[in-house]
């Protein structure tokens, strides 16, 4: 994957978390993910289609997710709350939307988000697309962005990226 597709996610998560949560994000060294097991307990997943296809996962340990959602919503919310998944979905939506604006000259659409909550769940992504994990640290705990996308040739833009989450 072209490194120029990683920087927009770094910029975007810092912008989203600072603007909406007043929570600075420290970004670590990106690495290639092996296996399909989710990095953490809570995954916000969004698909990209168009000139760039694939999927983005915002992955949090449960405690971190609950702390971040509570900051975002302005009230204490556990993962059993109806609004928990909604808030995680909106965060991955903003991070992905902000990042795609940084894909120079590319026409990209994003899907509505899905959220999976549960220890040891798996996320099956396109096998031929490497997944880059960007580790992040905040005062609420660690989290990661998983980016599995590739540039699509113009002729093939009708094929869409896909992701399937299973528990």
């Amino acid at each position: 994957m072209d490194a120029s597709y990683i920087t927009p996610f770094v910029v975007s998560i810092q912008n989203v978390f600072t603007t909406m949560l007043q929570l600075p994000v420290e970004v670590g060294e990106p690495r290639i993910k092996t296996g399909s097991k989710a990095s953490h307990d809570v995954s916000g997943i969004i698909g990209m289609s168009g000139d760039v296809t694939g999927s983005i996962v915002l992955s949090f340990p449960l405690e971190t997710a609950e702390a971040i959602v509570s900051l975002f919503c302005g009230e204490s919310l556990g993962s059993d709350s109806d609004d928990f998944a909604d808030a995680i979905g909106e965060l991955v939506n903003m991070v992905s939307g902000g990042a795609k604006a940084g894909f120079d000259g590319k026409q990209v659409s994003i899907s509505c988000p899905s959220v999976v909550v549960g220890t040891d769940h798996y996320i099956s992504q396109q096998k031929d697309v490497p997944c880059v994990v960007i580790p992040c640290t905040t005062d609420c705990g660690e989290l990661s962005i998983e980016v599995a996308i590739r540039e699509q040739s113009r002729a093939a833009t009708s094929e869409s990226g896909s992701e399937v989450a299973s528990h």
Binding site: D86, E90, M94, G97, G98, A101, Q107, C112
Partner: protein, 123 residues
């Protein structure tokens, strides 16, 4: 002032509601997508609409095109993650009056609401 909030995220509608209440707007109606909004709009008759772009069932752009076929005047502010210039132009051409890119601070949203209402009032 009657304001309609159209966003599939309840979290985002709650954030917008809190900004609107601080501005003194308390007559609010919520819709979770374009289709839901069209079904409520006749009864509510909003004087301002805050609209997301990416939503299930009917997206924001389709809503604007449908709504503008019968209503040319009610101001619409698109509040969305779609930040590319081409998207902003597409929305403005469809009939959106102003644009706020998510993430936003309460100050930016307040400023765009007041700017939009004063611009529409003077035209």
């Amino acid at each position: 002032m009657r304001v309609m909030l159209i966003d599939d995220s309840k979290t985002m509608r709650n954030i917008q509601k809190s900004v609107l209440k601080q501005l003194g707007y308390t007559e609010l109606e919520e819709a979770c997508d374009g289709q839901d909004a069209l079904s409520k709009i006749g009864a509510f008759q909003p004087e301002l609409i805050l609209l997301d772009w990416n939503m299930p069932n009917m997206d924001g752009l389709t809503f604007v095109k449908s709504f503008r076929s019968t209503n040319k005047t009610t101001p619409i502010i698109m509040v969305t993650t779609e930040a590319e210039k081409s998207r902003v132009i597409e929305a403005i051409k469809a009939g959106v009056n102003n644009y706020v890119v998510k993430p936003f601070t309460p100050d930016v949203l307040s400023q765009r609401i007041e700017e939009t209402l004063s611009r529409c009032a003077s035209s």
